[in-house]
């Protein structure tokens, strides 16, 4: 290089460096035109509303800052979720601010989209409806997701004005088997609540109640109410199923059965229990019929049919009979047709045998999803559309072309030219793409509504921010169509709703209405209809016998594909939320991708390893996806989670992962009404290629390091001698002066003033649901890096759920939330050449972004791998950037970042305390992760306060510090998981 080139290069380099370092702060300050009374700039305003990401209907509080919603938290008053929220609920904001949200109605003209106005769209629908109504009855049809009674009434009124059909509710996961079981036993198809918290023994036949089943946040809380260690005791949870789902991984004992073998086990249990215990009060004909049916299910036979070892069966039976308050749960949300339905019905009957009063079933608090039509009804609906005279089809936020890909009737109906298909949607999903007219509608966070989460509980929705585009609420749009009787004189849906709610709940004054809206609903809305008479005669037993027989025909299947509902994407409706894609699956630790979970033995036998490219084919289709070896499943199974593989749905869902639903057969099984989420695999092979897994996990094995620890129930916990620091014997060294000892420490203790923040993580309570991770992404402006960066190991999560095998029993998984440990002896602090990590006077390990020059020495020296480097400037395409928390900075390229213990919340508490001239109270500061944890596994507090809840929590022999032998003195104290065996 000559001198001239050198000068040029350095010149350009320094100019580029100077230009690149220039942040571009906002140059303007915008004033409001009129000041709303409830908005103070810099202060948050909270609005109560309801989460509509799944049919559970949790109450949420939306945090509004300067007119935009930046965070969702559970509504503490709401009985369903009691202040907690799952990962999907946290990510609802990304549906609201999705950059690919539709803003204008689109009409398909000659196969191309043309934007039209909302008035034109309404005129078009009105015109079509009038034409259809003129020709006869039943020519207008509507299919909707689960909605509240009021919106459903509006749909009904509008359609009846057009002489249309009755609106049909479609949910891909509609619990047909369980509903049918209750219909058999109680004469009514319903989905009662389960009082998990009152049980001392839970036997589940696959219900994934910590993931998607009915109401996961509620059941996570209730489960830990019975299952957390209290007074040296805890309830027992046994899970019977062909695979170890996240829920099964949280069971004390997972009993692997043959796919479809659950019913046999239940029948075996009934066979023994009949005539013994409380069940003998049941009617004689019922018992006689059941006796006849179960007669052949002797233990040896049960072992053969279910695939559960006889010894395990006996132990299970023993536990069940010893328990005082047992509760049996049915099968998973995504079932296996008749086999699951048989197990569902058997579980209902087993509950009756164990406790004829059914005290742990709540027939008042029935789940809203019970209003959804069964798969056979949905199939009939589409078949009628495919053939029938219907001319106008309205689809409200359903995606049947994704959820029911193998149902020919859907495809035929959607392709029928005479049928004018109108889709009300927020994004251009598969069904919207096939429609004739798309009408964008407001997000549930932008609209007024009411949703009956449970049968006698109404949860209200209100707009928690102004509209971010012109899309009207679905209710407003329907009122503008003018069909509704009551709505003819009303300007908007809010008026319609308030009038109806006032009638239903006796709201006499405006303040009654306001109180209801402020609380987020009416949670003690009386009118509890009593449990209908039970029908314990031979009918349910006969139905069970039929189901068992039908299920046996499917037994011949050898290699089985099982599709399960996803913790992250539910049934696929949330797949376009980037946080959910970025969260790794708790079990596989793979983000962004869909993997085929194959049994480890199969993997070894074929010489495959994780990331092997597999071709999985059934009679209905073939997919290609990476393999993931997993020992927690029946060897004949291959498991693929549903939710991804969209062909449309915007930039964060399209062409990511694969959709296993295309591998499944038609919507109904041979016998009728039951969806079957399994199919026989015709080909399972690899072409030898490999796919890079976007995995964030190093290993399932702890390599003898003391990371995720467990203690056995009833046995004394080994307490460290405190002598030295060895791999197996190290004391709890609190990050306080008392944690320092001359023989361990060179440096003196830090002097903290009044506060030393710390956290207790109770591994016995952590279920690995990832809600904390999503909450952290929302609170702390953590960047979404995408699949390619995760493959390179550049994920940004400040808290993650690690899953390790218990060294004593590798089939047991331990979930461990890992976040910055805020060590007192922090290894990161001592290696930074510019002092960017700094020890705070309140014990926090500060990362000063302005100082950081990006050497990454700190990340190298951190034994917990919690420091994250900004390799790029992560993008929040508008309007996703409106979600950013204004109290937290957005870090730029080239700096290191990590968990701050939600310093903005600590500062807010300081601010409040200083205003009131007092100290911060115990429990006043709750970081976002601890706030949303459905099981209260995380507890934040002041270690210097000897009376704090935190100090009491860690005053437990289970307390330990991860890698404590490194003498880092972490402020995050873990409590060992408490395990028991059947």
């Amino acid at each position: 290089m000559d001198r001239r080139t050198f000068l040029k290069t350095t010149g350009i380099g320094s100019v580029a460096f100077a230009a690149g370092c220039n942040a571009h702060p906002e140059k303007h300050l915008y004033t409001l035109v009129r000041a709303p009374e409830d908005m103070v700039t810099g202060e948050a305003t909270w609005y109560a509303t309801t989460c509509r990401e799944c049919p559970a209907g949790c109450g949420v509080l939306a945090k509004n800052r300067e007119g935009r919603v930046v965070k969702l938290e559970g509504n503490p008053l709401h009985p369903v979720n009691q202040g907690k929220l799952c990962a999907r609920g946290q990510a609802a904001l990304q549906g609201l601010y999705h950059p690919d949200r539709l803003t204008q109605p689109r009409l398909k003209v000659d196969g191309r989209w043309e934007e039209i106005s909302f008035n034109q769209a309404a005129d078009l629908i009105r015109g079509r409806a009038a034409q259809a109504a003129a020709k006869g009855d039943g020519r207008v049809a509507l299919l909707s997701e689960v909605v509240g009674d009021n919106l459903l009434a509006l749909f009904g009124e509008t359609l009846s004005a057009w002489r249309g059909q009755v609106p049909v509710i479609f949910e891909p996961l509609a619990y047909e088997g369980l509903k049918a079981a209750y219909a058999q036993a109680f004469g009514q198809a319903m989905l009662p609540g389960h009082r998990l918290e009152q049980a001392d023994f839970i036997l589940s036949f696959g219900a994934d109640f910590l993931e998607t089943w009915l109401s996961p946040v509620e059941y996570s809380r209730k489960f830990k109410a019975m299952h957390a260690l209290a007074d040296g005791r805890k309830g027992f949870f046994a899970h019977v199923g062909p695979y170890q789902s996240l829920t099964a991984a949280n069971a004390d004992q997972w009993l692997m059965c043959r796919p479809g073998g659950e019913a046999a086990l239940a029948l075996g249990l009934m066979q023994v229990l009949l005539g013994k215990g409380p069940g003998k009060e049941l009617p004689v004909p019922f018992r006689a019929a059941l006796n006849e049916l179960t007669d052949s299910y002797r233990p040896a036979e049960v072992a053969r049919r279910s695939g559960v070892a006889e010894a395990d069966f006996q132990k299970l039976l023993h536990r069940l009979r010893a328990s005082k308050r047992p509760l049996v749960l049915p099968t998973a949300a995504a079932g296996q047709g008749a086999a699951s339905a048989a197990a569902d019905l058997a579980s209902v009957l087993l509950n009756a045998l164990l406790d004829p009063t059914l005290a742990r079933l709540d027939f008042d608090q029935r789940h809203r999803v019970e209003t959804a039509g069964s798969r056979s009804e949905i199939h009939a609906f589409w078949q009628a559309l495919a053939q029938g005279p219907a001319e106008l089809l309205l689809l409200n936020q359903v995606n049947p072309l994704y959820s029911l890909p193998a149902d020919d009737a859907v495809a035929t109906a959607m392709a029928r030219k005479e049928l004018f298909k109108v889709v009300f949607a927020r994004s251009l999903d598969e069904t919207a793409a096939a429609a004739d007219l798309i009408v964008p509608v407001g997000h549930s966070l932008e609209t007024w509504d009411a949703y009956e989460s449970k049968r006698n509980l109404v949860s209200t929705l209100q707009p928690v921010l102004g509209k971010i585009n012109a899309a009207p609420g679905i209710g407003d749009f329907f009122l503008s169509l003018g069909g509704a009787r009551e709505g003819r004189t009303l300007a908007d849906y809010r008026a319609y709703l308030s009038r109806r709610l006032a009638d239903q709940y006796d709201l006499r004054t405006e303040s009654d209405w306001l109180r209801m809206i402020q609380n987020g609903g009416r949670f003690s809305a009386g009118q509890a209809d009593r449990m209908t008479a039970s029908r314990f005669d031979h009918a349910p037993v006969k139905a069970l016998a039929d189901l068992v027989e039908r299920a046996q025909s499917a037994d011949a299947r050898k290699n089985l594909l099982q599709v399960n509902s996803s913790l992250r994407f539910y049934d696929g409706r949330n797949a376009d939320h980037p946080w959910l894609a970025e969260l790794p699956d708790s079990i596989t630790q793979v983000a962004w991708q869909t993997v085929a979970m194959v049994h480890s033995a199969t993997m070894t036998a074929n010489g495959w390893s994780d990331g092997q490219r597999l071709q999985v084919a059934t009679a209905h289709g073939q997919v290609e996806l990476p393999a993931y070896g997993y020992a927690g499943m029946h060897p004949s199974l291959v498991m693929i989670a549903m939710g991804q593989g969209h062909t449309h749905m915007g930039r964060y869902a399209q062409n990511l992962g694969i959709n296993p639903l295309i591998l499944l057969g038609a919507a109904t099984d041979a016998g009728g009404a039951l969806p079957d989420y399994s199919a026989e695999i015709t080909r399972l092979a690899s072409d030898g290629g490999r796919m890079a897994l976007a995995s964030v996990s190093g290993s399932r094995d702890q390599y003898k390091r003391r990371i995720a620890l467990a203690a056995r129930l009833g046995e004394p916990v080994a307490v460290a001698s405190g002598e030295g620091l060895t791999l197996n014997d190290f004391p709890l060294t609190l990050p306080l002066p008392e944690g320092y000892a001359p023989h361990r420490d060179i440096y003196p203790a830090h002097e903290h003033e009044q506060y030393r923040w710390g956290m207790a993580v109770d591994l016995d309570r952590c279920i690995g649901c990832e809600a904390c991770v999503a909450g952290c992404y929302a609170e702390n402006n953590v960047g979404v890096v995408g699949q390619t960066q995760i493959v390179k190991g550049r994920e940004m999560a400040w808290i993650r759920i690690e899953r390790y095998e218990d060294p004593e029993n590798p089939s047991r998984l331990i979930f461990l939330p890992m976040l910055c440990q805020h060590c007192d002896n922090a290894p990161c602090e001592s290696v930074c050449p510019v002092y960017a990590p700094h020890h705070s006077k309140e014990g926090l390990n500060n990362q000063v972004y302005n100082r950081c020059i990006g050497t990454r020495f700190c990340a190298q020296n951190c034994p917990y791998k919690v420091r994250r480097f900004n390799w790029f400037e992560w993008q929040w395409p508008a309007p996703l950037n409106q979600q950013l928390n204004p109290d937290v900075t957005v870090r730029t390229k080239g700096v290191m970042e990590k968990c701050s213990f939600c310093i903005q919340r600590i500062k807010a508490a300081h601010n409040q305390a200083k205003n009131e001239q007092r100290a911060i109270r115990d429990g006043e500061v709750t970081p976002a992760c601890a706030q949303t944890c459905p099981t209260d596994a995380l507890l934040f507090g002041n270690l210097m306060d000897p009376n704090s809840a935190l100090r009491k929590k860690i005053d437990d022999p289970r307390a330990y510090q991860i890698l404590g032998y490194l003498n880092t003195k972490p402020a995050v104290i873990y409590l060992k998981k408490v395990v028991q065996s059947i």
Partner: protein
């Protein structure tokens, strides 16, 4: 300032010319006056260039340090005068920046608030008509930001007001300034005061997060 600079420069030029004319001995101006003036004339070429350079330098100096624009801030969409409102009319800061004692942000007055008075006071002034226009068309006023803190810094107004730190100690003599000149605050400015007042010096707990 500008008078000082101009005077010094003119005197400097005069002195240079005299020194050249008298060959370094200024007293000769009186003893050999005509000769000196002739010599100045002979050197008019170089002198012109010297003067041009000095004038250019003067212009730069003036532009950077003494022009009126350096004492007032960026042009705002409406030429709002802090001097008039806060100084002459003695309107309390908190009338417009009403959240300053209860929030991290002081708050800017909504357009509506300006019109509380200006509906009646000089309502038809062309600049006030702009304000009416913002109100009638529901447009937020795009005020130009003048005070900047460095990135990753969170400043809390409430805490400083509660500690009775006067607005002027950071924002300067607002009451005497027509258009706020603004400032890019540097860490030293904050630290100095935090040290003096024994305030929080912790990185995150005080400022950065």
């Amino acid at each position: 300032m500008e008078i000082l600079i101009t005077t010094l420069s003119v005197l400097g030029l005069l002195a240079t010319a005299i020194l050249i004319g008298t060959r370094g001995r200024p007293q000769r101006l009186f003893s050999q006056g005509a000769e000196s003036l002739g010599r100045i004339w002979d050197n008019r070429g170089p002198l012109f260039w010297v003067m041009a350079c000095v004038l250019l330098a003067l212009g730069f100096l003036f532009y950077f340090y003494a022009s009126p624009a350096t004492r007032i801030g960026a042009a705002q969409p409406i030429p709002f005068s802090h001097q008039l409102h806060a100084g002459v009319k003695a309107i309390d800061c908190r009338f417009c920046h009403s959240y300053v004692a209860r929030s991290i942000h002081p708050g800017l007055p909504p357009v509506e608030k300006c019109l509380y008075c200006h509906k009646y006071i000089i309502a038809n002034h062309p600049e006030i008509l702009k304000e009416h226009n913002y109100f009638n068309t529901d447009t937020p006023t795009p005020w130009v930001k003048v005070f900047y803190v460095p990135e990753h810094v969170m400043f809390n107004h409430q805490r400083h007001i509660r500690k009775e730190i006067a607005c002027e100690s950071c924002h300067g003599e607002v009451k005497q300034t027509e258009r706020l000149k603004g400032k890019r605050f540097k860490m030293g400015f904050c630290i100095q005061c935090h040290r003096e007042k024994k305030a929080n010096l912790d990185c995150w707990l005080a400022c950065h997060n």
